[in-house]
């Protein structure tokens, strides 16, 4: 006799919310529990990640305190660790990358969203998605064997002869350095900027364009003065996303930045970045303090990208909601 037959139907809860036991019997509760464990493990992993980064850098944090961020000496043998050259290198290369990638990326996104016929736009988007899938070590190899010689022979001499009065473009250029790393990073993040910006621009309601054209603006005026401002926060989001990417990018930068923990005003000079030093030294770190200093650098990187990604997401959601909201209105 099945247990369920002892329950009088009318006395039981409404159909659909069966008793816990019968749900267990049919496997629903078991499936729920098993999948819950897996879903919860994702949360657990991300909490553990933060705890681990915090916990494993305790020695370095206590030893150096805030001076970790103000000191520019990195000497594993003496046990002196200062993060300034790495933070400088990371920020400068990411800055150069954005200066190149933002105009190019947004220009391309405008073309894809506003001008190109849907079929052309989708085809190009397909290639851009493929470009985003190219692994960073390949960009590194190309940077090392193409961009570095180009920089040494053509780009650096040209910049020196035209903009050489700026301290940014002075000093010897050996090919590897901040500018080279910035250029390689720019090539890497352009696909992200295009993809997200195109998506955001496409979500701008059609009425906005039509209204602008109806009052007599040219195609470009309607795009630049109406559509782009409408999508402004989403485009900002795509830039933050690209910034977070370029801050955390490791291998391509490690291959072309020159790996020298110094601060130079010149963009031609060799430098170092946070991610590159972790990749190069963590496996060979000899002292506990060295390991922990590297992990503290990882913590810094984590916090930076965490904040930027959060901001990017908020901005992108804001724009698409605005688009959806006024489309309905």
């Amino acid at each position: 006799m099945a247990t369920s037959s002892t329950t009088v139907p009318s006395a039981g809860p409404v159909a659909g919310s069966r008793s816990f036991l019968s749900r267990l019997w049919e496997g629903d509760e078991i499936a729920r529990l098993i999948t819950f464990v897996f879903a919860a493990s994702v949360v657990l992993v991300s909490i553990l990640l933060v705890v681990e980064l915090w916990h494993d850098s305790v020695l370095a944090r206590h030893r150096f305190g805030l001076s970790f961020f103000r000191t520019s000496i990195w000497n594993p043998i003496e046990g002196d660790f200062g993060a300034l050259p790495f933070i400088y290198g990371t920020v400068v290369t990411a800055g150069v990358a954005l200066l190149i990638a933002v105009p190019l990326g947004i220009g391309a996104a405008i073309f894809l969203a506003e001008l190109a016929p849907a079929r052309v736009s989708d085809t190009l988007e397909f290639f851009i998605d493929l470009l985003a899938a190219v692994p960073s070590v390949i960009y590194g190899v190309l940077g090392l064997f193409i961009v570095v010689p180009l920089m040494r022979q053509f780009i650096a001499p040209w910049l020196k002869s035209t903009l050489g009065f700026l301290p940014l473009f002075q000093g010897p250029a050996y090919g590897m350095g901040f500018l080279t790393a910035g250029i390689v990073l720019a090539i890497m993040v352009i696909p992200y900027i295009i993809s997200v910006s195109r998506e955001v621009l496409l979500s701008v309601p059609r009425d906005q364009r039509e209204a602008a054209l109806a009052v007599g603006s040219t195609r470009w005026e309607s795009t630049w003065k109406v559509v782009v401002p409408f999508a402004r926060s989403g485009i900002m989001g795509s830039i933050f996303l690209a910034l977070a990417r370029s801050l955390g990018e490791t291998m391509a930068v490690a291959m072309v930045i020159g790996n020298d923990p110094k601060i130079h005003a010149s963009l031609f000079a060799a430098g170092y970045s946070i991610a590159a030093v972790i990749a190069n030294e963590l496996a060979e770190a000899t002292s506990e303090l060295h390991t922990q200093s590297l992990i503290e650098l990882g913590l810094v990187l984590f916090l930076l990208t965490f904040i930027l990604n959060g901001l990017a997401r908020i901005l992108i959601v804001l724009t698409s909601q605005r688009g959806a909201g006024s489309a309905r209105a």
């Binding site: 990640l49 105009p103 220009g107 391309a108 070590v137």
Partner: protein
């Protein structure tokens, strides 16, 4: 037509052309990269590349057989670890969870997805290398698996949610329990999307280098079992490209071509599957 209008039209045409140029430059980057890799890699690749071990410095020849097998082992471990968590977690999110728990899990997954791979590597290093005091294939697979979780989870959830409600209702109306509905109706209906999600996650970690440099490390020989350091294709390409030897540069190009070919093929296959529709038709 007055001068002002002519000027505005000129600006319009000029700027719009400029955006076209931007798009052309960006897209041609892919073809330049591919073309250069094919030329340099194509002339460098040979049978020995796939079948031979690296030879000592100074000798010409040898291949990356150990790195190819090493990458396969790492990716096998990563899939074994990352896909079940991502897949089952997504089933929980799409089918069982309330909105609060779903928000927390999604937030955690997005956080993991946004973390630079080098930081994931540090995490794997702290959990799987430091306690055992040596580098291993397991630690590398763990790092890559961690990176597969958020990608699999988020896209699988989306595809599960896109299964039409009528299918669920139909199964329920026939008296199927919830898990039976999921296992025999919803997942099969969304399988193409799920497969795509897994393929894309796989392609994403296949080229990852940064977290492997201090978890799986590298190795000039075969790596027996799972607890030894192992060579992998991306790390070997990195080491060879930075070396001063011409023959190693040649092999780095060949390795780059093989790696990029693999990743692009997976991406194109995945998108091809997707283009045929992510689930059963809604008619």
């Amino acid at each position: 037509m007055n001068a002002r209008l002519r000027w505005r039209k000129f600006v319009s045409g000029f700027m719009l052309t400029l955006t076209g140029v931007c798009a052309a430059i960006s897209v041609s980057a892919l073809f330049l990269i591919l073309g250069y890799l094919v030329v340099r890699g194509g002339t460098s690749i040979n049978w020995a590349f796939f079948t031979r071990l690296p030879v000592p410095v100074g000798e010409v020849g040898g291949g990356m057989a150990n790195a190819i097998v090493g990458s396969a082992k790492l990716l096998f471990l990563a899939t074994l670890f990352g896909v079940p968590i991502g897949f089952l977690g997504a089933i929980y999110l799409a089918e069982f969870s309330g909105s609060k728990m779903a928000f927390v899990v999604r937030y955690a997954a997005d956080l993991l997805n946004g973390v630079p791979s080098i930081v994931i590597g540090i995490f794997a290093y702290a959990l799987a290398v430091l306690p055992f005091k040596h580098f291993s294939t397991l630690a590398g697979g763990f790092a890559l698996g961690l990176m597969m979780i958020p990608i699999t989870l988020r896209s699988t959830e989306e595809f599960l949610r896109s299964v039409p409600v009528s299918l669920r209702e139909g199964a329920m109306a026939l008296g199927a329990s919830k898990w039976k509905t999921i296992a025999t109706v919803i997942v099969p209906a969304a399988y193409r999307g799920i497969l795509t999600a897994i393929l894309l996650a796989f392609a994403r970690v296949a080229g990852e280098t940064a977290p492997l440099t201090f978890t799986a490390l590298s190795n000039s020989f075969w790596s027996p079992g799972w607890t030894q350091p192992t060579a992998s294709l991306p790390v070997t390409i990195y080491n060879y490209a930075l070396s001063p030897y011409e023959d190693w540069h040649r092999q780095a190009w060949a390795g780059g071509l093989v790696l990029l070919g693999l990743i692009l093929v997976i991406n194109i296959v995945a998108r091809g599957i997707l283009a045929r529709g992510i689930s059963v038709s809604r008619s």
